[in-house]
Each structure stands twice: as C-alpha cells, then as structure tokens.
C-alpha cells in the first residue's frame, strides 16, 4: 500500500520533471539522497533500540531488571547514554597517527551502512537490486579488517595493536566459512541477486530447511564476524582493556559502537533474507515479516552472548579452520551435487 | 561515454607508477605493493579491451580473475618470505639479501 503510494509519487514527480524539462540526473541524485537518508534513519533507530534490548536481555539473563529509570521500561536509556558520549571530550592520543586515527571509525562505519543498499525490506522496497547482491555484501564486509588494523595501529598503544591483530586474524578466519555458507544458498537459488534468492524460496521452501548445515555455519561465522561473545576476543575486557578501541573516546568511540550494532543488524537481516525467505510470509504485511525474522536472529545472537563464556584463541582458530571450513566445503559440494542431479 | 584511450592512459600511468616503485624501492614490502599496482593496471587493460572490442564476451573478466588469483598467491608467499627475512636479519632491504650468492 505504502509502497504503491511511493511508487506513484515517484512516477508523478518524474512526470513533472519531464514536463518542465528539468534534468533527470537531479531527480536521480534526489532519490539517492532520500534512499540514503531512509537507510540511515532506519539503522540509527534500530541501533538505539538494539542497545536497549541488549541491556534488557542481559539483565534478565542475569536475573536483574536492566535499565528502568529513564523513560518507560528504561527505553530512553540509550538516548541518554548517546548524549553523554557525544558531550564527552574527544581525545586523540599524543602519539597517535592522526589521520589514520580519525579515518578508522569512518572506514568501519560507511560499509556497514552501505550493506543496506541491497537488503530487501519488502516486496520491491530495496534501495538498489544489484545483480551481485551477496558478493557486494561480502566485498563491503572485507573493509572491516583494514579499519580495525588502522584503529589498532594508529592508537600507538599495545593493547590496541594486540586487539586489532587478534580481531583481524579472527575476521579473516571466519570470513571464509561465512562466504562458503552463503555460496550454498547461491547455488540453490542460481543467482547472487537477493530478490532472486527470495523468489527461489517462495517457489520451494525456506533455505533453512534445504541448507541446515550451511545455516549453522553461517550463523556461527556471522557471530564471530560481528565480534560477539563467545567470539569477542578482540575486545576481551579482562585481557586487553578494550581491544582496538582502547584509545577511542567520545564521538569516535560511539561510531565504533554504532558500527558494531549496525553489523549485527545487517548480519541478522541477511540471515533472514538468505535462510528464512526474507519478507515473504502469510497474513502479516511483508515488512513486518522482515522485522520479525531479523529480530529473531538478533535475539538469538544476544541470548548466546549472555549465556556462553568466551572461548580461547586456539579454540577459536581450531573451530574456524578445522571445523567450520571443512563442514562448509562439504556442504557446498553436496549442495552442488544435489542441484546437478 | 569514456573513450578507450582514457582508460588505457589511466592503466598505463598506474603501471608506470608501479614499475617505478618496483624498480627503485629497496624495501621488500614496498616492492610487493608496487607489483600489485602493476597487476591492477594489467587487469584494467584486460577488462577495457574486452569491454570495447567484444562487449558481451566474459573472457576479459576471466583473465582478470586469474591475474587476481596469481596476485593473491604472490602476496601470500612474498609476505611469508619477508617475515622470514625480518626474523633472520632484522632488515628487509632487498639489496642486503645475498646469503644465496656464491
């Protein structure tokens, strides 16, 4: 309904542009800006909610109420925290590599927003339906490692550097099984385009049932990619102070924090799209389905974070290279054979 | 539309910069980086020719993908060698690596 209204609005605006002879690239730029603004608002609102949700869930897992004072159910807690963080002094260490230090949070944040260009929110509601959808997401995710290395190196602090190196090793190790698990879905759907993948799931069943192994591999690897417990070694407070963002404070630190939750949300929505059929579902409007499925994964990730202990570095590497990678490869081969037959 | 000559000029400039770096820099890591720049320029050429001479043909992309494979293998090996050098003699100046010379 809303979608149709927006589409008709776009049609009429386009007609106005053509009628007045205004250049069409202005319209293109205008739509692009509006899409970016929409995506940004979506991410910021969700991140505000996610942080509150995480604190509530952690509270209830640990048998305490979590934030309660600011607003109803403590809903305004994140807003208050955000204001506090923004008002703090923004320190750049004296020994820091200034430009790299300043750029690192941006290099981390921008790709995590750009991922949302291809995520389908609902039928036809997608900023741009790229034909390389999943590859695009994987390519953007690869910016994370350089950004962490930049942050760790430029801080001129051994904890930061150790955290960055650990984190980079972890992300590289888990990127391989992650992409292999995504490839299983791609082989089944026969396309990299996310809307095609959803259409393929509408024709058959959710890929969760056709790719159970791939799904488990994807989910574990995605948890590791978003640096969450049990894989939060890069920022293991008890060992490394705060990992790569030890020296970051105020606004820049909040950008890293924002990135972390934006990545979590991105991973969850991608999982929903790849394995649970995205926005498709009966009775409820597509967008509601999309939100429900995404938040299902978000909740799962938070639940796991607050119930499992952190694993050791050697266990982390063993799990990635000696378990997930072979399993993902076998899964891919079996899927390929299945599709050919 | 971009004239083919512009793209070829771009890739030739990129290749020239990489060539200069690979020939004049004695830091092993910087040499590896320069070589990567050259390989990138080669990829641009492959793709440009394939897109302009025979637009629907995927072969230009395929050759570029092979070049990337080789580049990745080369960087992995090169960095392993550089790491070993830096452990053995605390220096990665390629002119000082002559322990294999007779």
């Amino acid at each position: 309904m809303l979608v149709d209204w927006v589409a008709s609005l776009y049609q009429s605006v386009q007609a106005t542009f053509v009628a007045h002879g205004w250049p069409l690239w202005v319209l293109a730029v205008l739509t692009a800006v509006l899409k970016v603004a929409g995506v940004l608002v979506w991410i910021l609102l969700n991140v505000l909610f996610l942080i509150w949700l995480e604190r509530k869930i952690s509270g209830h897992v640990q048998n305490r109420p979590g934030p309660v004072y600011t607003g109803r159910f403590g809903l305004l807690q994140t807003l208050a925290d955000a204001l506090k963080v923004l008002l703090k002094e923004d320190v750049i260490p004296a020994g820091a590599d200034r430009w790299v230090f300043v750029l690192a949070p941006l290099v981390a944040f921008v790709p995590s927003v750009m991922i949302w260009v291809v995520i389908p929110f609902s039928r036809g509601v997608q900023a741009q339906d790229l034909n390389i959808g999943i590859l695009y997401v994987a390519a953007l995710a690869s910016f994370t490692v350089p950004s962490l290395l930049m942050a760790g190196w430029s801080s001129d602090n051994k904890w930061s550097l150790m955290g960055a190196l650990r984190s980079a090793a972890q992300l590289i190790s888990y990127e391989v099984p992650l992409i292999l698990a995504e490839l299983g879905v791609v082989v089944l759907a026969g396309s990299l385009r996310l809307s095609d993948i959803i259409a393929a799931q509408q024709r058959s069943v959710w890929f969760l049932f056709l790719q159970p192994v791939g799904f488990v591999v994807y989910f574990i690897a995605a948890l590791a990619e978003s640096n969450r417990t049990p894989f939060d070694l890069p920022e293991a407070e008890s060992e490394l102070v705060a990992g790569f963002n030890t020296e970051y404070s105020g606004f820049r630190w909040s950008i890293f924090f924002l990135t972390e939750y934006a990545n979590l949300l991105g991973m969850a929505s991608l999982a929903a799209t790849l394995f649970l059929g995205g926005w498709s579902g009966p009775f409820l409007p597509p967008f509601v389905w999309f939100v429900i499925k995404t938040y299902f994964f978000v909740f799962l990730a938070m639940w796991i974070r607050w119930t499992l202990p952190r694993i050791r570095v050697d266990q982390l590497m063993d799990l990635g290279w000696k378990f997930l990678l072979p399993v993902a490869l076998v899964n891919l081969v079996v899927t390929g054979v299945f599709v050919v037959l | 539309m971009i004239p083919l000559g512009y793209i070829l000029g771009f890739s030739a400039l990129l290749f020239g910069l990489g060539l200069y770096g690979a020939l004049t820099r004695r830091n092993a890591i910087r040499m590896v980086m320069s070589i990567e720049l050259m390989l990138n320029a080669v990829n641009v050429n492959f793709l440009a020719f394939s897109r302009y001479l025979n637009p629907g043909d995927p072969r230009g992309s395929i050759w570029a993908i092979f070049v990337m494979t080789v580049a990745a293998a080369e960087v992995a090996l090169g960095l392993a060698i550089i790491l070993m050098l830096s452990r053995r003699q605390d220096d990665i100046d390629v002119d000082k690596v002559h322990s294999l010379q007779g």
Partner: protein, 181 residues
Amino acid sequence: MNTTLLAFFIVAFISLVAAWRVITDPSILHAGLWMGLSFVGVAGIFLLLEAEFLAGVQVLVYVGAITTIILFGIMLSDVGEVRVGPEPPGWVQAGAAWHRGLRHAFPLLVAAGFAGTMLGLYTQSGWGQLRERPLELAGLSVGGIGRELFSTFALPFEIASLVLLAALLGAIVLAMREEER
C-alpha cells in the same frame, strides 16, 4: 561533459594519487593504506566499465585479502622503512638538488613518459580507431562468466586453484618458526 566521464576522471585521479603516494609516502603503513585506496579506485573503474562482478571480486580480493595481508606483514615484521624517501638516479639527483619537490614528482614524470609511450604504441596499432567508439551496453552477466570459467577455462581454473594451494602451503611452511618444524 557527461557524468560517466566525470566520474571516470574523479575515480582515476584518486586512484593515481593513491598509487603515487604508495611509492612516495615516507611511512610504510600509510603506503599500504594508500594502496588499498588505489585498489578501491580501480574497482570503481571496473564499475564504470559495467563489470560489477569483477568490481566486487576486486574489492573482496584486493582490499579484503591483499591489503590486509600486507598490513599484517608490516605490523608483524616491524622493520619500518629502509632508506626513507625515494632515490632517483644520480643524474636526476645532481640536477635536482636545488629542488626537493622533483624527488616526489619524478615517479609521476616516469609514469607519464611510460603512459605516453604506450599510448603512442596503441595508436600505431589498429586500436587507434577505437578511441571514439562508445562502450556498448551489453551487460556482462555473472552466469556468462561462470559458464565460460567452468567450460572453456576449466583446466586453467583447476591449475589456478593448485597454485593457490601451493602458495598456501608454501606460506605456512616459510612463516613457521625454525623450532616448530
């Protein structure tokens, strides 16, 4: 001037400046980061040539793997820079002692000379006539690349995978410490 051409100039300029900084930046780590930027610029060129798949692979391989490995290598080897700054040949140093800027400009001059020579060669050959021919809008489909890769190029593809495997094993063996062998 149309937007594609404008975009091409911007992307090419960024990529070339980054490439120039790779060989002239005094800090080796900054050089590595500039290299990453240059790779992203080349991916932009691929996008302008309407090869989205290759652009994605370019970012994935060059930014995600190669830049990361090189940054890792820099941080692990911890040797910093050997012989800081560029060293042009003796005749340039003699002539340019009065002008330090030329030391940084020299790579650009060499590259420009090389590019000029190459473009001259291109125009000598039959490709010269292609200068004005616009890019036809026949999209490169991912499926087409895949089919060609696994039929005509199946053997090279397998050999490439063997090369990667050999490189992987070689890198592991080389990087092992002596006592671990």
